[in-house]
Amino acid sequence: MSRFGTSTEPTPTRIDQLLGGGLMSKLERLDIVSRKIFSGKIHGERRSRRRGTSVDFADYRPYSPGDDLRFVDWNIYARLDALFLKLFLEEEDLSLGIAIDTSASMDWGNPNKLTYCRRLAMALGYIGLVNHNRVSLHGFDGRGVDSLRTLRGKRRTREMGSWLLDLEAADGDAGGGFAEAMKTLALSRRGRGVLILLSDFMEPSGIEEGLRFLGGRGDEVICLQVLAPEEVDPAANGLSGDLRLRDVEGHGDVEITVTPALLRAYRQRLDEHCGRLRNNCARRGMRHLAVHTSTDLETVLVESMRQRGLVR
């Protein structure tokens, strides 16, 4: 039996270990859902706030000198003897940001939470690339934010995979907190779009302030709370006896005697913690989904996220 919280599977070293070929073909049919409409940078596949040149009719407006005569609706001119221009919807690209918590607490669990996040980020990023979105990746922890910016097109998949493979977890307490990292992330983002936050949100100092920084930017934030099976059901995964629990981030030790009552209390605290996060997200217009690392990645993407309307 493996040690409590220690991953038994090897750390991925190749891109195909992050995202298999079978899953890639399934992901190509998916797209990230954005409830908001953002202005893009360049012409893309997603409807923009701007009027543009797509085939979708949007409106009419009177002609003014200098307008492109190609857009004058001559049928109306024949009937009404007045010049009107046809306006069409503009399709632009979407800014998709994926932020991965690389704190020490993420490098724990069986399956490992950080590895799981790498795969999940790879899959979500691949969806973005396939749909010609501008994909940015961010790794954040107490040390700061490490970013890989503006990837577009499927051919950038390898670059994205390499960056994710090189992503390393912080060793112990890295100093700064979650709020500091979110503030840095919010300031470093360019344009508005969809930001997917992958973290366990186990922050002693609280997550409200960090979420407030993110929510203030106008991004559509999706919080994916990644939990290891050992965190969800410690007793079933081998936690028993008289123990000294050591926080991997060095936030102090706790001595416990595992009893049914203690486990019940822990479960209650975990539910409260998740509920608090969900309420915070809802209050700020963010979306929340708890993901267990024991759940198959395809199930998460194709079923859970689709059911919740995060992808389509």
Binding site: G5, S105, E249, H251, E255, T257, P260, L262, R269
Partner: protein
């Protein structure tokens, strides 16, 4: 308060208390487990806050409770007890054995009875000690028992009353029988007042028995909820020999001589040689040395079988009445069974009055008997005597085919005429009867062949419940005996001379001889069985006996003048030995003595104190009387320990959140 094993407790405390404290100073050895975050665990657990030893000891209720439980356990090991504590407010019944075996002097120079009284007195002091552990509502009753039981003091809380009642108990020479005492105890433990609904119908009492355990009627008795403590008095090793019985006889050919027989018993496991003394009227006549065989144990019943020896003294001349005493001249533990006495009346020939209408046959038969005097008289002459108010000095009266006008106060024989008494009632006549059966063992029919008798005519009578049919004919009773005013009489419902063929058989003469002898000597000491303690003493004195005074063996004097001399009774007798009844005959002014010898029950001579008493299936071991009784407190300490542990367990579970 006393401690039985204090040092064990101290050693235990010295070992365990520091160990418990040390365990609390030591950290629990926990394995380290790395987790992603202790955020949720911190808020979940309250277990083991700080590991600093003194911080832990401070306000640690669990340690405090464990120390307290350990302290209680150590107290229990030290076995504390309280001296003289009361019985906890219950009811106690003291049962005092006052039987003969309690006279054995084997308790530090005192008799067992004295030791029992002393122990009972101490028990009363203990039960009614007052103070913190005195038991304010303690009630005690005293019952003494021997042949019968007697409530010496009903339930009371007064120590003085109990002590006074205890001092009033006297010894008896009877057997030790406890059944009556237990019944009395149960009766008095029952709540007779149904209005007192707060009390149970029967309150089981605590019984404390002060006895040597030689109780005769234990078999079949059971305790019904009562608790019994047996405080034994006396030892199991008693040196005792006894006079088992005494008998005397006047040889037929030499009525002026008396031959004495004695039975001796040895209760010791070894052979004993002792001198036996025969005394006549208090004067030693003979001393003989006898060797008594050792007592043996009955292999089946387990009881002690004494070594027995029968002794016959050489006949000696004694032509008047005498008190004979056989005594063992050897000191032993129980003196009261070392002597036995009996009364031998003087040789006596009977004076018989024959009332007859001058029939020759009966007169001739009576004249042939060996009598001191035979007065033959006609009915008229007899009535003249009675009319003159004289009783006559006859021992027996024979009414031959006549009936007196009033019932005589002398034992009488009625031949063929119904006596004037309500004991028999005549209602007709029956003819032609044969004998169906007779009471062959009755003295009046001894050696009489009744089968050939044919009765031509007889009166049909019905006897009262006091009448006994001696001879039964085909149509009704032919011969009865009955008691009238303490005197026994014989009545033949047919006239033997005129109405039967009996005169042609020799049985008639034998019958008349038997009847006169039976009625004349009935009640004489030689034929009487000796009384035992507990029975009533009954004497039939002459009708003119006055100034009746009874003197017991202990010298106590009782005036019985108020009683009818025809039937003087007194009892129950408590002591063995010679009881003397002195009276004066008003006619002559002479003083007479009447003696009754009461025999000590032989079972009381087996005086070795028992180790236990067995009531039903319950064996009750003895505790030595006089020992100070203590109330042990260790069960309370154990109980407290358990309660504290329960509380500690509850608090612990509350702390770790199991509940």
């Amino acid at each position: 308060m006393m401690w039985l094993t204090p040092w064990t407790g101290f050693i235990l405390a010295a070992c365990t208390v520091p160990l418990l404290l040390l365990l609390y100073f030591l950290k629990l050895r926990r394995s380290t487990q790395v987790v992603s975050s202790t955020l949720l665990w911190l808020s979940s657990t309250e277990d083991l806050r700080a590991n600093a030893p003194f911080q832990r000891l401070r306000r640690n209720i669990l340690l405090l409770l464990q120390l307290l439980a350990l302290l209680m356990l150590i107290l229990a090991v030290m076995q504390p007890r309280i001296e003289g504590a009361g019985g906890g407010g219950g009811r106690t019944i003291l049962l005092i054995d006052r039987s003969a075996s309690m006279q054995v002097r084997d308790v530090d120079g005192d008799t067992r009875f004295e030791a029992a009284l002393e122990a009972a007195s101490a028990e009363i002091d203990r039960l009614h000690a007052g103070g913190l552990f005195g038991g304010g509502n303690e009630e005690t009753m005293i019952i003494s028992f021997s042949e019968t039981a007697e409530i010496v003091q009903p339930f009371t809380g007064s120590r003085q009353q109990l002590q006074d009642a205890l001092a009033g108990i006297s010894l008896s020479h009877g057997r030790s029988r406890i059944e009556d005492a237990l019944n009395l105890a149960r009766v008095y433990s029952t709540n007779p007042n149904p209005e007192l609904v707060d009390r149970p119908i029967a309150e089981a009492a605590s019984l404390v028995l002060f006895s040597d355990g030689r109780i005769q009627d234990l078999e079949g008795l059971v305790l019904r909820g009562e608790s019994l403590v047996f405080q034994r008095v006396g030892s199991g090793d008693v040196d005792n020999i006894s006079v088992a019985h005494v008998a005397a006889e006047r040889p037929y050919d030499r009525p002026a001589f008396v031959e004495v027989f004695a039975g001796l018993a040895n209760w010791n496991p070894s052979v004993v040689v002792a001198d036996v003394q025969l005394s006549i009227d208090g004067i030693a006549r003979r001393v003989e040395e006898v060797e008594l065989p050792a007592a043996t144990r009955d292999p089946v019943a387990g009881g002690l079988v004494p070594g027995r020896r029968n002794l016959t003294f050489t006949p000696f001349q004694q032509d008047r009445d005498a008190v004979i005493e056989v005594a063992l001249l050897r000191e032993d533990a129980l003196a009261v069974d070392d002597a036995a006495s009996m009364v031998v009346p003087p040789p006596r020939q009977l004076r018989v009055g024959l009332v007859t209408p001058n029939r020759r046959l009966v007169r001739r038969i009576m004249a042939g008997l060996s009598l001191q005097r035979l007065d033959v008289m006609t009915p008229e002459a007899y009535e003249a005597v009675t009319d003159a108010g004289q009783v006559g000095d006859w021992d027996v009266l024979v009414f031959d085919a006549v009936a007196p006008r009033t019932m005589p106060s002398i034992p009488s024989v009625f031949l063929g005429r119904t006596p004037p008494t309500d004991q028999v009632r005549a209602y007709g006549e029956a003819e032609g009867q044969v004998i169906l059966g007779g009471s062959g063992d009755h003295p009046v029919l001894r050696y009489v062949d009744v089968d050939p008798i044919y009765v031509d005519r007889a009166r049909q009578v019905q006897g009262s419940e006091n009448a006994e049919v001696v001879l039964q004919g085909s149509s009704g009773p032919l011969m009865l005996t009955f008691v009238h005013e303490g005197r026994e009489h014989v009545f033949t419902t047919f006239d033997p001379i005129a109405d039967s063929n009996w005169p042609y058989q020799r049985g008639l003469g034998v019958f008349l001889f038997n009847t006169v002898e039976y009625l004349g000597h009935h009640g004489d000491a030689l034929t009487r069985t000796q009384l035992s303690p507990g029975a009533a003493l009954v004497a039939h004195l002459p009708a003119d006996a006055t100034d009746l005074v009874l003197t017991t063996p202990s010298g106590e004097v009782f005036d019985l003048s108020q009683q009818d001399p025809a039937r003087v009774s007194w009892g129950p007798v408590e002591l063995s030995g010679l009881h003397e009844l002195r009276y004066t005959r008003s006619g002559t002014g002479e003083e007479f003595n009447w003696y009754e010898s009461v025999r000590l029950p032989q079972v009381e001579s087996d005086a070795a104190a028992a180790q236990e008493v067995v009531l039903g299936m319950q064996r009750i071991e003895s505790t030595d009387a006089g020992a100070v009784r203590y109330r042990p407190l260790w069960p309370w300490a154990i109980g407290m320990c358990l309660v504290i542990l329960l509380i500690e367990w509850w608090i612990y579970n509350r702390k770790i959140g199991s509940w």
